[in-house]
Each structure stands twice: as C-alpha cells, then as structure tokens.
C-alpha cells in the first residue's frame, strides 16, 4: 500500500546557543534519511534500532560536513510516536541546527507543528489518554513535586492502576456472566455470591480518589491566604516569605487594598501566597471592594493564615475574623506577629479566645520564627510525603470518572447483597468499566468472555 504519511522534523531543543542541540525526525522517510545524511565514523554502523552511532552529517551535495553528531534510529513500533524515529544530537549552535534541519526539509520532511510528535504517539496507541495529558502537563510543570507526579503518570502509573482495577472488574464480571451465559455448564456453587473483586476494586477506586486533594496541591500549588485586621503585618509577612519587597509596607492601617500575590516553592511544592486588605468596617468604597475580595479569597484558600498582632490587645475585629475562619472548610494556621515587641496577651490563660490553639510566634520585621512558619506550611501541604505509589489523580476529569465508577460499584454490591438477578450487577460493573475506560480510552470488548473460558469448564 502506498502511504501518504508525511515525515516530520523539528529542532527539539529550545532556541538559542547551547552545548548540544537535538533534531527529531518521525515518519516513513526516517531510516532512508539516516542513511543518506549520516556518514558513520566507524564501519560497524548497521542502524540497529535504539543504538547510538557516531559520525558526521553531510549536506545533500554529499561533500560538505555540517557537524559531528550522534545519531539514533528507533524503529517502529517501539518508538515514541510508533513510527520510525531518527534523532540527531549535534552541537547546539542555532546555525548548525538550522543547516541540518534544512537538509531534512529539502529531502521531503515537513516541519512538525507544536505537539505533533505527541499527537502521533497518541494516535498510534503509544500513549493512552492519561499519559498524553500527563505529558502535556509535565512539560509545563512548575515544581519538582508536580514534575515527579506527571512523570510517574506519563510512565503509566495511573494507567497501570486503572488497568489493575479493570482486571479485577473483568474477573468479577466473568464470574457473573458465567452464571448467566453458561447456566447449564457452571453451577452456582462455582460462583462467589459477591465477587471479592468488586469489593477490592471499590477499595482501589476509593484509594485513587483519596489522592486527588494532594495531587491537586502538588500540581496546582497551594493557595495560602493571609488574613487579619489592618496593620497586623500581613504585607510584611508576605515580603518576608517571598524574600523580596512585593507589597508596600507602612504604619498606616489599610495600606493594602488590592490583593497581592506571590508564589514561592517550599520542599518542591508551589505555594501561592495572597496578601489581603485588613478586615475592618470599610472607610471608603475602595476599601469596601478590597475587603469583599478578601472574603472571596477566603472561600478559595487551601490554607488560611490568620495573623494577629501580639503587641496589641485583641479587638472585636480579630474576634470576627476568627469566627469567619471557623466557617471555612480548610486548614488554618494561626500566627502571632510582632514578637519583637512586648506581648500584650497570653492565650494560655483560661477563657482567652485563642485558648488551646497552637500559635506560631514570629517577627515579620526581623524574620524570627519565619522558618518555623515555612515548615508548618510545608507540613500542612504534605510536602515531605512522597507521591503515592499506585498513581495519583490530579485532574477533575479523572476524579469525576472515578466517582462515577465508585457509584456503580456500590450499586453492584447492593444488587448482589439484596439478591437481585446477576445481570443487573453485571450492568453496573460494565458501567463502572466504561467510566474507568474514560480515563485511559480503552474498551472492554472480548475480555470478559476470555476470562470465562479460561476459568470454567464449558461446553456440550
């Protein structure tokens, strides 16, 4: 069959001068171009797949040496795109890269569009949907932990977890279907009442779902919102954590009216800090607007950092903020600023509004206690935890699919527990499988029948 698939080529390393540069070529022309443009330094170049050869790139005229390079041919289907792929590592001068690219283009390649290599990989089944998503996210991951998580997903950690769950469900389904389709061959005694696989799979789905919050924190970072009444030192604290002067600091209460944000990295996790206007009865419209923004921010925070002034007695404004924070379903850090000054209150006294609360004392002005705060933030974010081994879910799409699967699994358990005919539980299990397949883009097809035939003695 004549193929019209185009061979694509691109410079894979970023533009600018660098030590090395990489050109990647994918498509049916790759092996032929390797032979044509590359002159091996040693005679033993057999273009064995996935072997790296040393030599020169020669221009189309057959004479001019363009660069001394390493060339690797990865033959289909064991390549990133599933096609024949040629990679040329050359010196990282943009002119060299451009020269080599031009040879490939002159010999029938077309410049690749952004993301086209990944697109081909997905198209040809080299990656499942969860891997393609992970690859896209990995390239723009902003913290070490996020990178690690996406990389593990790219390597198939989520896909593998899903496959294990699928396998359990297919076993469970095979048990149910055997009793339906082979009622004459398979006695009910051979079939467990509630296949243990359903319970096990439900537990597995729950486990995956439980990783969502942390994975989300890892990939998206943590939103820490600093709230407090005016002049408690919120902006000073932000500047201190950020290690630079981001917010204007004055002694005038109500200086900060807009939201000031800054992202820092703690133990490999992005922390998005937001400094807010001090909360008090507003003096003008701008302040009113600023304070209403604070309330919105409080709604979206992963961690609320409540800041009190330790050098002044607490006021009604402090108490109000304290009450508001209790209504929020997020983690709370209570921080007392200005410990460089004489303390005006002591929460160890019984009846104190902050009695029994763990307080972090610090001085935003001089930096004392700030390291403790960073550690507390990092602990709350789970920064020291390694990502769960069985894969984590960080995308809402995955979470919704898993929730749907879990609901179906529970329904299936219920069907069986209440003695309903097994085709209904089987229906729920197929629906659960469909939901799981939404994550990776796979299909059930013949799997169930194969399991039945391998496990039961069936036939006339």
């Amino acid at each position: 069959m004549v193929t019209k698939t185009e061979t694509i080529a691109a410079i894979a390393t970023p533009s600018g001068t660098a030590g090395v540069g990489l050109i990647r070529v994918s498509g049916p022309l790759a092996p032929e171009l390797a032979q044509r443009l590359f002159r091996p330094a040693h005679s033993n170049c057999t273009w064995q797949s996935h072997h790296c050869y040393h030599g020169d790139i020669i221009a189309a005229d057959g004479k001019t040496v363009l660069d001394e390079v390493l060339a690797t041919l990865m033959r289909k289907p064991r390549s990133f795109t599933g096609e024949d792929v040629l990679e040329i590592s050359c010196h990282g001068n943009p002119l060299i890269l451009q020269n080599i690219m031009e040879q490939f283009l002159a010999l029938g390649c077309r410049p690749a569009r952004p993301g086209e290599f990944s697109e081909r990989a997905y198209l040809n089944g080299r990656m499942d949907l969860s891997q393609a998503e992970a690859l896209a996210a990995m390239i723009c991951a902003q913290s070490a932990k996020a990178l690690q998580l996406e990389l593990s997903q790219l390597k198939g950690s989520l896909g593998n977890s899903i496959d294990e769950l699928r396998s359990l469900l297919i076993d469970g389904l095979a048990n149910l279907e055997a009793a339906i389709d082979f009622t004459e061959d398979v006695s009910d005694k051979e079939i467990p009442a509630v296949p243990g696989q359903i319970l096990q799979a439900a537990a597995g789905v729950e486990l995956l779902l439980s990783t969502y919050r942390q994975a989300r924190l890892i990939t998206q970072g943590i939103r820490v919102v600093i709230v407090g009444k005016p002049n408690t030192g919120k902006s000073s604290l932000l500047n201190r954590l950020a290690g630079k002067k981001k917010a204007i600091v004055t002694d005038i209460p109500g200086t900060t009216r807009d939201l000031i944000t800054e992202t820092i990295t703690l133990d490999g996790i992005s922390i998005h800090l937001t400094d807010t206007a001090g909360i008090r009865p507003p003096r003008d419209d701008i302040e009113k607007e600023g304070i209403s923004l604070v309330r919105q921010q409080m709604e979206q925070a992963d961690i609320l950092l409540l800041l009190f002034d330790g050098s002044q007695p607490l006021t009604d404004e402090d108490y109000r903020i304290l009450e508001q924070s209790k209504k929020r379903d997020c983690q709370i850090l209570t921080v007392v600023n200005k410990r460089d000054l004489a303390p005006a209150w002591d929460n160890r006294l019984p009846g104190h509004p902050l009695h029994g609360r763990r307080l972090l004392d610090l001085s935003a002005k001089f930096g004392d206690g700030v390291e403790d705060l960073k550690k507390a933030l990092s602990d709350l974010a789970g920064g020291t935890d390694a990502p769960a081994e069985g894969g984590m879910i960080s995308r809402l799409r995955h979470k919704l699919a898993l929730e749907k699967a879990l609901a179906c699994l529970k329904a299936a358990q219920n069907c069986l527990a209440t003695g309903q005919s097994s085709e209904f539980a089987a229906f729920e299990l197929s629906e659960a499988l469909n939901a799981l397949d939404e994550i990776t883009g796979k299909k059930i097809s013949e799997d169930v029948l194969s399991r039945i035939f391998s496990g039961f003695c069936i036939g006339k």
Binding site: M1, V2, T3, K4, T5, E6, P28, K76, P77, T81, G82, E83, E116, E119, R120, Y122, L123, N124, G125, L129, E177, I180, D181, F182, T183, E184, D185, T418, G419, Q420, S421, S422, E423, F424, A426, F427, S430, E431, G441, K443, S445, E446, V448, L449, I452, F453, C457, I458, G459, K460
Partner: protein, 631 residues
C-alpha cells in the same frame, strides 16, 4: 418447444438453517428465488443437537420470527420438550429452549419452502460461481448447467472442503455421510477470499432401548411453555423427557490413556475449535482436576430410538467411543447408532463482508451462516434472513436493512463478525450484547415487527394485533400509576402474606409492582387493579415497571452509540490521507472499511486518537463539499 430459462433474481446455495430463511425472505419479498441443496432430503437438517433456542439464541429465534422468518414457527410445531433457562433470573437473560423432533422439523421446513410462491428448489451441487466484472452473474452446477442470478447467497455451512475425523480415519464429507463441496471452496479461495479453517464436532447418538434410564435423573419438560412465534396459538401435546448422566474417573482414564489416538491431539486437526464447545478430550485434558463432567441425554424424536448424548462429543476411534460411552452409569449396555465425529471445514473471514453480508470483493455475492465462521442453527438463521432481505433490497437499489447493536442480537452478531472477525466458531452470548437489558426475548416483536411489516414479511393483521397489545400495555401502566391504596390493616396483612413490607402512606399500585416480591396478579383485590388475560401484555407491564430504572439507563447509554452510528464514513474514504496514522492502522482500516465512526471504534486495536482524527477529516471534507456547493 419452450426454452427453459434458468434465470433468477436470487440464488441461494445450501438449504440449511441460513439458506432456508434467506430463500424464504427473498421469495416472500417478491424475488424469483432458487434454493439449491446437495440432497433435498437433508434440507433444514439439525446436524447436531435436536434443540432450537437456548441462552442468547432464543433472542435470535424471536428476532427472526419478528421479521417474519420461519425458524420459530417450525420449532413451535415440532417441539417435544420445553425449558425456560435462567427462569430464576431477570427477563433479559431468560431464554426459551425447545427440543424438536428432528425429522419432523426437517420435513416441516421442507414443506414450507416447497410450498412458498416464487421459490424454486433444486437438488444439485453448485460447483462454481460465475463472476463478470467483479459482479456475480450466476452459478454452474456439477453437471455444468448454468443458472443466471442477479444475487447469490452462499450458505454452505460446514460443507466447504469438509473433512470428517473419527480416530485416524478422514473422510471428505460436508456432514457424516454427505458429499463435501470442494470446487466451490477452491474457487472462493482463488477469487481472493481470505479463508480459514475451523473445527466442530458432534457427540454420538445412542439407541434408547439400550439405555438404562431408571438409574438416571430425569428432567421433564416445563409444564406451561410459551411458544417462540407470535403467530403460534398452540403447541404439540406430546412430550419427551431428558436425562442427566455423568462421566466418571474411568471415562477420563480411557481418554487420557488413548489421547494420542485423538486427531485433536495427534495434530491431524488443524482447524480451530470453539472454547465454549470443547470435546470431551479437551475437557478431560484441560480440567484435569475434575472427576466428572455432565452428560445430558436428549431424545431426537418421537419415532426414533436415537438419543443425542450431549457431553460425550469426541473424535476417537469407534472402539474407544464404545468404551467411553459404556463407562458412564446407565450407558453400560448402550449401543452407538451414530459415532461421534469431528469435522473441519473452510470459512471466509467475515471482515471481508459489508454489514449487509455482501462481500466487498464481489458485488452481489452474500455469505450467511457457518461459512462466516459462526456456529449454531439460530446464528445461521438470523444471518440468512438478514442476507436474504438485503439481497432483495439491493435488486432495486433500495436502502439496506441494517440494525444497530442497541436494536437486536442479530445486529450485535453481524457487527461483531464484520468488524472484529472471528478466530474461533462464533456463538451468540448475552454478554456480547452490551444493551442486553433492552434486547430481551420477550420484547423482540416490539423491537422488530414494525420493520418486518415494512419489508412485507409480516402480515399486517399480526402487526395490528401487536399495536393493540402495545396500547393495552401503556393503558395498563397508566392505570397502575393512577391507582393508589392507603395503608390499612387489610392491605398490610395482604402485603405481609406476600412477604412484602407494610405501607405507611398512600402508595400507587405502580410502586407496589416495582417490589421484587410482587407480581401483577398478586395485586388482585387492590382497588384499581384490573385482570389482564393477555399473557404478553401482562408480562410487558410487569417488566416495564419493575425494571424501569435499568431500562431507562440502558436507553440512555444507547444515545452515544446512535450518535456515532449516524456518522457515516464515505466508502471512498482514503485512510492514507489521515496525517500521522501508522501504516498498520491504515492497512487495517482500508481492509475493514468501516461504514460508520461507531463501527470504526469497535475494530480491535483501534485507538481513540485515530477515531478522532478520522472524524475530523470527515467533518473537514463535509465542510469543503458544502463550501463548493452542489455540482
């Protein structure tokens, strides 16, 4: 002198279960039809077991019947043992199975095809197809006589290069004692069809008078069976029981000690057998830990001593077959009337067919039944009627008759065949039907009779009857929804007697009928309840109310399928023009040429990405065509 014009609209080669339905449908739709069989006495022979129906197969029988086919009707006329399988399970997986008097079945079908207007019957072996410009033009029989045909339907079952094995003996036969069809098989291969080889088998037939039934467990027919066909008003009254026996360790020892004599294990048989239908050798060798396998003895008819010994199928030499049979309790004196045997035969990989069952290679040529790699009378019949209808529709260029997977089991089967192909004999299972909760044997007429009527295969009167029943079902449901009972000691006592919890507030009869433990007639005496004398109507009311939630969800799930089936892939679509698609996928898609995006997605090994890419190309193409406007 009158010149004999042997020229037909439709020629059907092979008068088995597929061929008879194909020929009848074609003739009834008005096409001048010719049906060939090598031997007219073996038209509609039940080559293996004496039963029609069974799990997932009964749905096929009912669907064939709803389209005006004959299998259900003739089964009803000739059945002598009735079972409702999975009776304790829900309606979607219940299946009727009927054992027939084999000879009566054959003769009744023979009379039906003989008496059908437009249908001609001929005893002859077709030697070859006559093909002109990639189009079928007729056939030649073994004597060299030419028959003109506009469409040809090949329904040759196991006859193509059939080879019967008993021990080391090999005989070219289409069925034990009958000629194999060699010329046609070889011609199909030389025309370029991708052919494969399969294996099936049949157990021994024993002489009833030599079986000690007194030591075997007897199974009687169900007392009050329902017929297959909506046209059947009464069933035969004669009944024949079945008996359960079992193999023992002695049986297994004989097999293990002599396994080298089985052509299955000696390497003589190359064809692929079905995993769901292993011979006794396979069961013993593969499930070594089992000390016993079930055997069921079924009478083959009212006027014969022959008894079908289900479970004893093997291909060992006759003397060993004797030892095996006689090792079974109750069979120690049994006489074998027909030995068990294995048979290998050629099939055509069905991915070479369009969804109408017409071959892609030769226009006007249709294949149905075992030649497509299926097994089973019911699977054959369903393909037969499907091919017959489509061949006739194609005569006038009318749109084809195609159902989707949410409409019928026959559509599930045919889609599986043409999309996935087969690597073992294909049998229908309920688990193959992803929408099985709405594809029940009880609602086959509701699903399909309208289509049968449109095609002219179903009597209008019957269809009107069905419309009336439909109306009564709807009214019945409405009535139950609008009638409610208030809690009272009387009512709750009644519920208690049905082992149902009491009610605490006004409750509709509809909600009560949703309860697992309550049947329609249990509500007798509740205010607003009305008797239903029509068994069908009553059952539909019960099912639609009890399983309303599941039925609704299943219909919901069909929406995605319907959307994908709506998007047609143009016949001339060039898969090599899809950027980035690997050569392997391009080749596979070009070969199978799926008709819709839905079908494409079901091809094994297809990726979601590839489906999206093709979808985008089709949309683009539509846009450019629209932009250009009509030529």
């Amino acid at each position: 002198m009158t010149v004999l014009t042997d020229s037909y609209d439709i020629v059907v080669i092979g008068g088995g279960h597929a061929g008879c339905e194909a020929a009848l449908a074609a003739a009834r739709m008005g096409a001048r039809t010719l049906l060939f069989n090598i031997n007219l006495d073996s038209i509609a022979l039940m080559s293996c077991n004496p039963a029609i129906g069974g799990l997932a197969k009964s749905q096929l029988v009912k669907e064939v019947d709803a389209l005006g086919g004959e299998m259900g009707r003739i089964t009803d006329k000739t059945a002598v043992h009735f079972r409702l399988l999975n009776a304790s399970k829900g309606p979607a997986v219940q299946s009727t199975r009927m054992q027939c008097d084999k000879q009566l079945y054959r003769l009744t079908m023979k009379a039906t095809v003989e008496n059908q207007a437009n249908l001609h019957i001929r005893q002859a072996m077709v030697e070859s197809l006559v093909v002109e410009d990639g189009k079928v033009a007729g056939v030649l029989d073994a004597s060299g006589h030419f028959y003109g045909a506009r469409k040809v339907i090949v329904t040759t079952g196991t006859f193509l290069n059939g080879l019967v094995h008993i021990g080391r003996s090999q005989t070219q036969s289409g069925r034990a004692g009958e000629l194999a069809s060699v010329g046609l098989a070889n011609q199909l291969a030389s025309l370029g069809f991708d052919m494969g080889r399969m294996k099936t088998g049949t157990p021994p037939r024993l002489k009833a008078s030599t079986i000690d039934f007194s030591v075997l467990e007897r199974q009687d027919s169900d007392p009050d069976p329902a017929p297959f066909s909506f046209t059947t008003s009464s069933l035969r009254t004669e009944r024949l029981p079945s008996y359960f026996a079992a193999t023992c360790e002695q049986t297994h020892r004989i097999i293990r000690d002599n396994i080298g004599q089985s052509p299955l294990y000696s390497g003589a048989i190359k064809g692929v057998g079905a995993r769901y239908c292993p011979s006794l050798e396979d069961k013993v060798m593969r499930f070594g830990e089992r000390t016993s396998h079930p055997v069921v003895l079924e009478h083959e008819g009212l006027d014969t001593q022959e008894v079908y010994a289900k479970g004893l199928g093997n291909s060992l030499p006759l003397e060993l077959q004797y030892e095996i049979v006689r090792s079974v309790r109750g069979l120690d004196q049994a006489e074998i009337m027909r030995p068990a045997y294995a048979i290998e035969y050629d099939f055509v990989q069905p991915t070479q067919l369009r969804v109408t069952l017409e071959t892609k290679l030769i226009s006007g040529l249709y294949l149905a039944g075992q030649i497509n790699g299926t097994s089973g009378y019911e699977e054959a019949a369903a393909q037969g009627i499907w091919a017959g209808i489509n061949a006739v529709l194609a005569l006038t260029g009318a749109p084809p008759f195609v159902l989707d997977r949410s409409e019928a089991y026959m559509a599930v089967m045919i889609d599986d065949l043409v999309t996935r192909g087969v690597d073992e004999p294909y049998r229908m299972f309920t688990s193959r039907a992803e929408y099985r909760l709405i594809l029940r044997e009880d609602n086959a007429v509701l699903r399909l009779m309208g289509r049968g009527c449109e095609l002219g295969l179903v009597d209008r009167a019957h269809y009107l009857d069905l419309q009336n029943q439909k109306k009564r079902i709807e009214e019945g449901i409405r009535k139950l929804k609008s009638s409610s009972v208030k809690p009272s000691p009387d009512i709750n006592e009644k519920l208690a007697s049905l082992l149902s919890p009491p009610i605490t507030q006004a409750t509709t009869l509809y909600s009560l009928l949703k309860r697992h433990e309550i049947a329609y007639d249990d509500l007798n005496g509740f205010p607003g309840w009305e008797p239903q004398d029509d068994r069908f109507v009553k059952k539909q009311i019960e099912i639609e109310i009890k399983y309303e939630g599941y039925i609704r969800r299943q219909f919901e799930a069909t929406k995605k399928l319907k959307e994908q089936e709506k998007i047609k892939i143009p016949a001339d679509f060039d898969y090599t023009s899809v950027p980035g698609l690997s050569n392997e996928l391009q080749a596979k898609l070009t070969r199978i040429a799926p008709a819709t995006i839905g079908q494409m997605g079901r091809i094994p090994g297809m990726t979601e990405g590839a489906v999206s890419a093709v979808l985008i190309m089709i949309k683009k193409r539509e846009l450019t065509h629209a932009a250009r406007g009509p030529a």
